[in-house]
């Protein structure tokens, strides 16, 4: 919603959210977040980090050109490169700090690494269930069919409301948007994720906005041509990833300094909120206090 008038209103938040400040002698995890869920969703990760370490979220939805595209049909008047440049300008990466990107945030985070001078780059880049911007993984909009999108939407809705929305993939297969949304509505109401009298038109509006956000990211990724990563890549896939069974999510061609893959509990969204996933991810992203040089 629009910021209120300045008198009595709150300032509009930008992209930087310091969820936990680092104590002297400790480092900070910088996490690139693509919206969909509030930046606060990373609070569990902040709490799972060793005492004294900080966590700063760089939230792309704090950038109007990116955020508003999800409300206006999914076409953003920006590029991956421009988003990366904008966030690099906000990045206060000290030696030993780590850089992480979730989902589309991983694509932007990798572009950010390549914008940094060699002596300012992190020791590695950690990607949380992020699909690579590489051939075979850059999809036209038509490839995002209704059963796929509805399945992702069910995960998103469950994470957003803190109540899993179980959907049977076999029942979703072959569904169009309308009949699929009825399945989601029934499952979400039964799970307590939506009020019992939630209507199909209401759910449809939520779904369309969710899909516009996905299409925005898909369209930003499609023309983007990344350079290979100049640091090792560490990929954490969710047990119920966006692309189930795909081990590397397409990052291998960019991983000229190596790719390590880990799996964590949860789905694409709940991997950010589950304490067991947060504990695993915290181990992988903890800042290194040793001098880099």
């Amino acid at each position: 919603m629009r910021p209120r008038p300045e008198q009595g209103g709150r300032p509009q938040p930008g992209p930087v959210h310091r969820l936990r400040a680092a104590q002297p002698g400790h480092g900070t995890v910088h996490l690139v977040h693509p919206g969909a869920l509030a930046a606060e969703v990373h609070r569990n990760l902040a709490d799972a980090l060793p005492d004294g370490d900080g966590l700063t979220v760089l939230d792309l939805s704090g950038l109007p050109a990116y955020f508003e595209a999800a409300l206006t049909g999914g076409r953003a008047d920006t590029t991956v490169q421009a988003l990366a440049e904008r966030l690099v300008a906000e990045l206060e990466l000290a030696p030993g700090d780590t850089l992480v990107g979730w989902s589309f945030g991983g694509v932007v985070a990798q572009a950010m690494v390549e914008l940094l001078p060699a002596d300012r780059r992190p020791r590695e880049l950690v990607l949380l269930d992020s699909i690579a911007p590489t051939e075979g993984y850059q999809q036209p909009d038509e490839a995002l069919d209704a059963p796929l999108l509805l399945g992702w939407f069910g995960m998103y809705l469950g994470a957003k409301r803190g109540r899993p929305v179980p959907l049977d993939p076999a029942r979703l297969a072959g569904c169009g948007t309308e009949d699929g949304l009825l399945l989601v509505l029934d499952a979400a109401v039964a799970a307590g994720a939506l009020l019992p009298d939630t209507s199909l038109p209401g759910l449809r509006k939520l779904y369309e906005t969710y899909v516009d956000g996905l299409l925005r990211n898909n369209r930003l990724t499609a023309p983007y041509r990344p350079v290979p990563a100049s640091v090792p890549l560490v990929l954490v896939t969710a047990e119920r990833s966006l692309l189930p069974g795909d081990r590397t999510l397409g990052w291998q061609p960019l991983a000229r300094h190596g790719l390590t893959v880990h799996s964590c509990p949860g789905d694409h969204y709940t991997m950010l909120t589950r304490p067991d996933a947060a504990a695993l991810i915290a181990e992988l992203v903890r800042p290194d206090r040793r001098p880099q040089r």
Partner: protein
């Protein structure tokens, strides 16, 4: 398509918002900003979809952005429903001319 007055739209919004946030209608003031209400983004979008269904025309997803209180939005909806109905009537005349 429904033509509504600002008062009707305001009452509809107050009723729906009170139900969604679980408070009596008397606790929802028309001058309140939507972000002051305990209405998260999921509920706000569901409400927008139900509003479109009631009115019979589509609202831009930025409508709540540009009309951030119940009163502002209700006045906009009253104007917009009249504009939409006029456009519909003119369209029907053009089609039959």
């Amino acid at each position: 398509m429904t033509v509504v007055t600002a008062s009707q739209a305001q009452q509809w919004l107050i009723e729906k918002i009170a139900h969604r946030v679980g408070v009596p209608e008397s606790e929802i003031a028309p001058e309140q900003y939507f972000d002051e209400l305990d209405l998260d983004s999921t509920e706000a979008l569901i409400l927008a979809g139900e509003l479109e269904n009631w009115l019979g025309f589509e609202l831009g997803s930025t409508t709540l952005w540009y009309h951030p209180t119940i009163k502002d939005l209700a006045e906009f909806l009253a104007q917009e429903s009249t504009v939409q109905q006029q456009a519909q009537v003119e369209g029907q005349h053009a089609a039959t001319a």
